[in-house]
């Protein structure tokens, strides 16, 4: 289900096609890089930079990664730095956290964040809380990464979004990149961060190419954790999203633009700590807010954003109640048509915008 690289910016309301955004005007020496390769570049650069960084997870070495994210890394760095683990999530997560406590900087790969549920005790009780519980004696520098949320055809046990679960926990940083630049800059920041970072990738995005600026190709290119990015400026409504759903927001924005509705699309990039300032600034301008996510509605990312808007300065600027567009509150079905209707589609976002704007 990779997005097609087609040039459909015309007024056609076509078909499954995805519209390729024109990112920047021609910057010199920009290249097309898929999210997968951007992640790999980040890992490669950080492995090279710091001896203490190492990767572990299922199939990360010889198999070159279940989704080929770590292709070539084992050949380059060897057994000591790229470690294949047995299928024992709670065990290898605990081992990784212990190694971090003893001064190394592990990057743990989950073949899917759905498998991280087995390891949640270590992520939260052994990693997130330790610096606090020890009164500042014991830091834990570790990154947990892997595909999160929906993937095509994988059904209920493999499609859950964990942004809200991990976003709930003090002591964790939770990052959810969208573009290749996001993925690279944020993963490098995550690895250099001295604290536990949950890095939520998405399988749908792995093969999507993005233009990467020259700046972003530098080995020291970092994107700060905790800062959102405005992917598209607009005046009429603020759409806040993260991960693969940002693509849908951009597509919906293009559709709405034909009706003269200009959406401001905010790519959260980080779930925790969340960049409320960016959201509030935007809401003060557009006076309308819609959060869009793939995860379940109850106690979700959107719920948190709306609560904070209520409690903050943005509320008095709203001309309509802020709403959430989310995944349907059900386990993910398998049949294609059912699956499509479980995630927010472009038409759902367009519909919600028009309802909010009362047009």
């Amino acid at each position: 289900m990779a997005y097609l690289r087609s040039i459909l910016r015309s007024g056609k309301n076509a078909v499954p096609a995805v519209l390729r955004r024109e990112f920047h005007r021609t910057l010199p020496a920009a290249v097309q890089v898929t999210v997968r390769d951007a992640i790999k570049e980040a890992l490669d650069e950080e492995l090279e930079r710091d001896e203490r960084v190492f990767l572990l997870g299922e199939e990360v070495a010889l198999f070159e990664g279940a989704y080929k994210v770590t292709r070539g890394l084992w050949k380059k760095y060897g057994d000591k730095r790229i470690i294949d683990t047995p299928i024992t999530e709670i065990g290898f997560t605990g081992i990784a956290v212990g190694a971090a406590m003893a001064g190394l900087r592990p990057v743990v790969e989950y073949m899917s964040f759905n498998f991280s549920m087995q390891s949640v005790d270590h992520i939260i009780n052994s990693a997130a809380k330790t610096y606090y519980m020890s009164g500042g004696l014991q830091p834990v520098s570790i990154v947990f990464r892997g595909p999160n949320g929906a993937a095509p055809g994988v059904a209920a046990q493999h499609a859950q979004c964990f942004a809200a679960w991990y976003g709930h926990v003090p002591g964790l940083k939770v990052v959810s990149p969208w573009s290749a630049e996001d993925a690279k800059g944020l993963l490098k920041s995550a690895i250099r961060d001295d604290n536990p970072v949950v890095f939520l990738e998405n399988e749908i995005m792995y093969s999507v190419p993005f233009e990467m600026s020259e700046e972003s190709q530098s080995k020291d290119f970092l994107i700060p954790i905790g800062k959102a990015k405005i992917e598209r400026k607009g005046n009429h409504v603020t759409l806040v999203s993260h991960s693969h759903v940002v693509s849908r927001c951009m597509d919906a924005a293009a559709v709405l633009a034909k009706d003269g509705i200009e959406c401001e699309v905010i790519n959260l990039r980080t779930i925790r700590p969340m960049d409320m300032e960016a959201i509030e600034t935007s809401v003060m301008k557009t006076k309308h807010l819609i959060t869009v996510e793939g995860g379940w509605p109850q106690f979700g990312v959107g719920g948190e954003i709306l609560a904070r808007i209520m409690e903050g300065p943005g509320f008095s600027y709203l001309n309509a109640p802020a709403v959430r567009v989310t995944g349907v509150d059900i386990p993910m079905p398998y049949a294609k048509h059912l699956e499509e209707n479980t995630l927010p589609q472009i038409k759902d976002i367009v519909f919600s915008v028009k309802k909010t704007l009362n047009v």
């Binding site: 709670i90 065990g91 290898f92 081992i95 212990g98 005790d121 020890s134 500042g136 961060d193 001295d194």
Partner: protein, 393 residues
């Protein structure tokens, strides 16, 4: 008690023989005492090992007095914690270690300070042997800012250099310890990690996951099961299909050790450290020990075992008494000097308790600090949207 009287009588008799008149013990100079002696220790049960630790060990007077002092300090510290808990000055969970002192002290004697150690929640003894003062331990129990974790961790969350706590989730510390061992191997410093767990934790799945990876990757990890016969209120027979904990590592060699004898524990730990320090992989030790207190301060400890059993262990196998008797009867220490040590310890504990009850609690300004390491200060939401707190690394 009977033993002690006999020993004292013998000593006095001895003095009388030499001088023809009654000689008071305290007049004896330390030059008369034996500088070291050889002791027989119990043979260990072995699993997948052709040879075990030596059945004879040499104890110097200096080491003996040090082990005695350390065990006695841990004993008195735990009894003081008991007292403070009953006075409600210590709250929440408090799992005491009295009875098991030989384990912590023997293990520390068998490894280097540069080695690493991690254990579960019955941790005060190890916190002390790993270098934290009684003062800082008691102040952490009473939740004061002078506590080792600044009052933010409590009984189960104490840390020090090369000491990783203090872990409240049963069994979680075992993969963590294997991870520390991975770091030792990675950094190639010939250090080992001692990873402790109890008979209750021994059935945890993640422990077997850790065994697998430790053996696969030959991690320098000494897994130690402190078998004190009861996981909370459940005896080993009621919890484990196999109570041969030293064999439960299957492909990992194991040994079963008398955990009430500090010399046995030391010898076994030396053996285990030698084994795994230079790349042979992990090893498993089961220490057979006993706790006098219940599981925690909220457990009187008699609903699942008899008072007679507790008394019997106290009378026959107390680790501190055993060491003292050995030293006295081999003329390696005088009763006077033991008494002096006891008095010093009592004073140290009193002073520590004094500090722990008078030191102030951490200030409210500290509430949100230490969330992240090496980070810029940030705002933390308080209990309501108007309350904005600050977090500093």
């Amino acid at each position: 008690m009977q033993n002690m009287l006999t020993v004292v009588a013998n000593t006095l008799k001895g003095g009388a023989k030499i001088n023809g008149s009654r000689v008071v013990v305290s007049a004896r100079s330390f030059a008369d005492l034996t500088p070291q002696a050889s002791f027989d220790i119990k043979r260990c049960d072995l699993h997948r090992l052709d040879e075990g630790p030596s059945v004879q060990t040499v104890l110097t007077r200096e080491d003996g007095l040090r082990y005695y002092r350390t065990m006695q300090t841990v004993r008195r510290m735990e009894l003081k914690a008991d007292q403070l808990y009953k006075q409600k000055i210590i709250r929440g969970f408090c799992h005491l270690y009295d009875g098991q002192e030989a384990c912590a002290v023997g293990i520390e004697a068998g490894i280097n300070p540069t080695d690493h150690l991690i254990t579960a929640y019955r941790v005060h003894g190890y916190t002390y042997t790993r270098g934290v003062s009684v003062k800082e331990i008691l102040a952490e129990l009473t939740g004061r800012k002078g506590g080792i974790a600044k009052g933010k961790g409590g009984s189960m969350h104490m840390y020090a250099k090369n000491f990783y706590g203090g872990n409240g989730i049963v069994g979680a510390q075992v993969p963590l310890g294997a991870g520390v061992a991975l770091a030792c191997q990675y950094q190639a410093k010939n250090e080992v990690c001692v990873t402790l767990y109890g008979d209750g934790a021994a059935n945890q799945g993640q422990i077997f996951e850790a065994f697998n990876m430790a053996a696969l990757w030959k991690l320098p990890c000494i897994f130690i099961c402190e078998n004190n016969k009861y996981g909370m209120g459940t005896s080993v027979e009621r919890a484990s299909a196999s109570t041969d904990y030293y064999k439960r590592g299957d492909y990992i060699p194991g040994l079963r050790v008398d955990g009430m004898d500090v010399l046995s524990v030391r010898e076994a730990t030396r053996f285990a450290a030698d084994y795994c320090r230079y790349g042979k992989g992990p090893i498993l030790m089961e220490l057979q020990t006993y706790r006098y207190h219940g599981h925690s301060m909220s457990d009187p400890g008699v609903s699942y075992r008899t008072r007679d059993e507790i008394q019997e262990v106290r009378g026959k196998s107390d680790p501190i008494t055993m060491l003292k008797d050995r030293m006295i009867s081999n003329n390696m220490a005088s009763l006077e000097e033991i008494k002096d040590i006891d008095a010093e310890i009592r004073k140290e504990i009193e002073e520590a308790a004094q500090f722990a009850t008078s030191d102030p609690e951490p200030p409210l300004e500290d509430l949100c600090n230490h969330i992240f390491f090496n980070d810029t200060p940030f705002e933390v939401r308080g209990t309501s949207p108007w309350v904005k707190l600050k977090s500093i690394s």
